[in-house]
Symmetry: C2
Subunit: 337 residues, 2 copies
């Protein structure tokens, strides 16, 4: 193994016949260096294959140029069925790449992992922290913010004690659009498969359902899932059981909508002839379902990008970062409703 000793600033300086400070200034692109010397130093850097030691550098500059994205789920769940996190990661990644920052992904599922994340951030391993989707009343964002670490959330945090800026989508607007579409096409017994009620996304979509149906003076019928396909199947069966004559279902996630499609097929219902189905997300796979799914598109990638952009401003000390940014949703009409 060619474990060639990594050259230090000192070595480069000696090689180029200048001082450490000068090399440092060349490496960091200072303008007050004579061209001839700059060139000599660069040559020495190349010849020795010098790369600055990150630990030494960030010890004094107090910054690391990397940023954490926290996925508050166990590693086993994050990437299994769910397509939400991949989309967030994609958005965040593209934005950070442009800013030349390094993305550090962390799963904070277990309690131990949770503590580790906190220590990791407080230890100064990263310059800022993003949270992708928050479960329940998660204290971590506030905790880190109180420690002086720049923090931003995707989805409104449930506790607002130290207010943490966040990026979210217009849940209520999306739900209203979906339900109005169903009502306009003559549906009158519209059920919903709600999301988990310990997440703001789950709560707000259910609230939107209540509000819109109440305004339209239509009966309400609710079953609750956890955003997964399987929970959608179970919930749909339960709904059919409670009201065999329902003529539409609004599911609070695409995966639950797919589960509903499957349960409806098993129960012999035709979609959309007997029952119309609308989801929420607009995942790629919803274009290929049978029938293709009508759904509320939420700009997840855009949310990730926005989150990254705002965090970078926060880190730069920009005082004008808004406490909340709400992105629009829109209804994508396909065959299922």
């Amino acid at each position: 193994m060619t474990t060639r000793e990594r050259p230090t600033l000192e070595a480069v300086a000696r090689h180029a016949g200048v001082s450490r400070a000068t090399v440092s200034r060349v490496v960091n692109g200072s303008t007050t260096v004579a061209a001839s010397i700059r060139e000599a130093v660069n040559r020495a850097v190349d010849e020795l294959g010098y790369v600055p030691n990150q630990a030494a550098r960030s010890l004094v500059t107090r910054q690391t140029d990397s940023i954490a994205l926290i996925l508050p789920e166990t590693a086993n769940r994050v990437f299994s069925d769910d397509l939400f996190f991949p989309a967030i990661i994609r958005g965040v990644g593209s934005e950070l790449e442009a800013a030349n920052k390094q993305l550090v992904l962390m799963m904070a599922g277990s309690a131990a992992g949770y503590a580790r994340v906190e220590r990791y951030a407080v230890a100064g391993h990263v310059d800022g922290v993003m949270f992708a989707s928050i479960h329940g009343a998660d204290p971590l964002p506030g905790l880190l913010a109180r420690r002086g670490i720049p923090v931003i959330c995707s989805g409104r945090p449930m506790i607002a004690d130290p207010p943490v800026p966040y990026v979210d989508v217009d849940h209520a607007g999306g739900v209203a659009a979906a339900l109005r579409h169903l009502i306009a096409s003559g549906r009158r017994r519209i059920a919903t498969i709600a999301g988990p009620q310990d997440m703001v996304a789950g709560l707000e979509r259910l609230t939107g359902y209540h509000d819109t149906l109440r305004a339209a003076a239509l009966p309400e019928l609710v079953a609750t899932g956890d955003f997964t396909r399987d929970s959608g199947i179970t919930a749909m069966r339960e709904l059919l059981d409670r009201d065999p004559d329902l003529d539409a279902v609004f599911a609070a996630s695409d995966l639950m909508a797919h589960g509903a499609l499957q349960a409806l097929r098993e129960a012999g219902r035709r979609v959309p002839a007997d029952v119309a189905v609308i989801g929420f997300d607009d995942f790629e796979i919803s274009r290929y379902s049978d029938p293709p799914l009508t759904t509320v598109r939420q700009p997840i990638g855009e949310a990730g990008r926005t989150m990254a952009r705002e965090l970078l401003r926060l880190i730069a000390g920009d005082p004008s970062v808004p406490p909340a940014i709400i992105l629009p949703t829109d209804l994508v009409i396909r065959a299922s409703a």
Copy 2:
């Protein structure tokens, strides 16, 4: 904002009335500290909310307790359609969590991102590097290895100049099992949709197809895709065009198999009555396709876990890390063949 100044070792030492060195030993769990002092120090640590500065620490210890996983694709592709990376990440994540190491995800799509990854690793930001799937003759693994950085690959690297240890699955065995199943059930005109030929996985699966069909003295029919669903659709149409009487297709990935199912349906062929279809991967979604997909299961998560485990041994300086580990594949028979 409560940007409370982070306490240093020095502060804790003063608070507890001992020296810096002693606090350091307590924090790192040295045994040669009197119980009373240890307790006093711990109290001081709690009261001040002390967390060691990672930069300072790794400057001297030369390790960071974090490990990079390189996804050599652009951020935009990695998480879109593909379910391979999520599975790898899941496996790696669970293993590293158990070892209390931090996972750092890096996308190395663009050339710039590529250089950044190299600098990042060489700068000592991480203790070791894993590569998830390699495209073509990627020089980066060898480059890092030559720099003395512990490296391990998922999938056999195409260049073996500095040999880099790797974890792979038994492509040939899986393909052979699939084809033997088709032959045993009476199929005689068996086509294949090959994967990209700049990836070892693509190459080896095609080689397996050649070898098995030649041994069985059956005609060969090949179209090439890039592992995506769309490329599967295109390739299937092309195959039907070239041999309308084919009675089976082996696709080198599940997504291409799904594309093939769609193209076959459009062409009015019944699966498996007219044409049998087998994929390779066994993604979750293949259980829900119409018909459910017969496929070669490869233990992606297990590969991730193994990769992480071996890398940790490499980092620990264990000289007995094998140059290659090949995991078994097996045929999962569902309805499509």
